[in-house]
């Protein structure tokens, strides 16, 4: 993560089947900054997060990543982001190791072994690395998703409900990961959990305003 990264969101609106979920959301984040998106269930937290990560198209507006000051072609943004969410599914029929190796190959990481091994150890999945994803418990699946998101050391990390399915130890590991991300890059979290909200410096609350700009 040696590149300088900036993330900008301009006038994002999303309408689903005539229902307006939110509109005119704008903000920008520099390196070492973090943002939390909160709101009731159904307020559009995950939707906004997905739009920011580039996996959902907004009805209006756009998102831009700046690498060393230059705007990035959005079709490559996936290289620079990591994404964890309860609704993310890895490949059932592949082992933990194979899932991570797939990510390495597609992110053009030459030495996959070197990238994967420390992550698996840190997330306490090393023992189960050769078992297929289908056999993992929900906590293990969540931890593998973190490995999947971090294997290419993305400068921007998107987390939807970061602590879901995790036990005490898992939550602590995640906390560390979030702190590290804040120090090195950009962190954006969508959650209702009080503790996770406290981790980030800026807040967007979708309950209060469906239309937000210039977040304090």
């Amino acid at each position: 993560m040696n590149k300088n990264i900036q993330f900008e969101v301009n006038d994002i609106s999303k309408t689903f089947n005539r229902r307006k979920i939110f509109s005119d959301i704008s903000f920008s984040l520099k390196q070492k900054e973090s943002l939390v998106i909160t709101g009731n269930n159904g307020s559009g937290k995950s939707t906004l997060l997905k739009i920011c990560a580039g996996v959902l198209t907004p009805t209006k507006g756009k998102t831009i990543f700046f690498i060393d000051g230059k705007p990035l072609d959005n079709s490559y943004s996936f290289r620079f982001i990591g994404f964890v969410a309860p609704y993310l599914q890895l490949y059932d029929e592949f082992t933990g190791w194979e899932n991570l190796q797939l990510a390495c190959k597609l992110h053009e990481i030459n030495d996959s072994r070197q990238a994967i091994t420390p992550l698996l150890h840190r997330l306490r999945l090393w023992e189960r690395r050769n078992d297929v994803y289908k056999t993992y418990s929900s906590g293990m699946k969540q931890r593998l998703k973190y490995a999947f998101a971090l294997v290419h050391e993305p400068p921007v990390l998107f987390l939807d409900e970061p602590a879901s399915n995790l036990d005490q130890q898992g939550s602590e590991t995640i906390c560390e990961i979030m702190k590290e991300q804040k120090q090195e890059g950009i962190l954006i979290v969508a959650t209702n959990d009080e503790h996770d909200i406290g981790v980030c410096d800026r807040v967007i609350n979708l309950n209060v305003q469906r239309s937000i700009s210039g977040v304090p």
């Binding site: 689903f16 089947n17 005539r18 229902r19 307006k20």
Partner: protein
Amino acid sequence: MLFKLILFLWLSLVIVAGISFPITMNPIHWNELPMIPGLEDKARIIFFHAPLAWVTTLAFLVSLFHAVRYLGKKNFNDDIRSSASAGLGIMFCILATVTGSFWAKFNWGSFWNWDPRETSIFVLLLIYGAYFALRSSVEGEEKRATLSAVYAVIAGVTALFFIFVMPRIVEGLHPNEAIIVRGRISMNSTMLIIFLCSLVGYTALYMWLLRLRVRIAQLEFQLLEKGN
């Protein structure tokens, strides 16, 4: 209102002329139509079948045009126009296929022969059917509009292929390639006028119906928007 009235009169005259003008061996009077040996009275179907086939093709092209525009601009109006035109297209296509098979029965004794023209109109019918099958099985307006626009483009390209490829494939027995040529030559001015009037009339009918359908769809859309 005036337009509706004129259109009504126009088409009525065309239909009356097409059905009632007498057919004689050597047309002399202004309202007499030439006799095509073997066809006689049955030739009258050309006043109706050909314009229908033309309109269904036009409807397809309009639908395709708006599909491409929708993919470019994501303006919902284009999707409304695309599907409205397709709806009319399928109706005219069914009529064209039915009248065409009657023509085939008159001329060659069987309702269906799988020659290039008949196969093409049948494929167009299949494409229309597939288009609506797709639309009815996608939830979400935006997804429905995008997917059906994509399919319309693929179908359009295929149809183009078909037109250029067909002559090679099937040794046709649509001898009205010859008849049409002969027909044009032996179509006297009266027949030609009625034919062209029919063409214009049915095209105008299509355009009028299209405007109505688009208008209705747009009003529905606005009502639902206000409701939210």
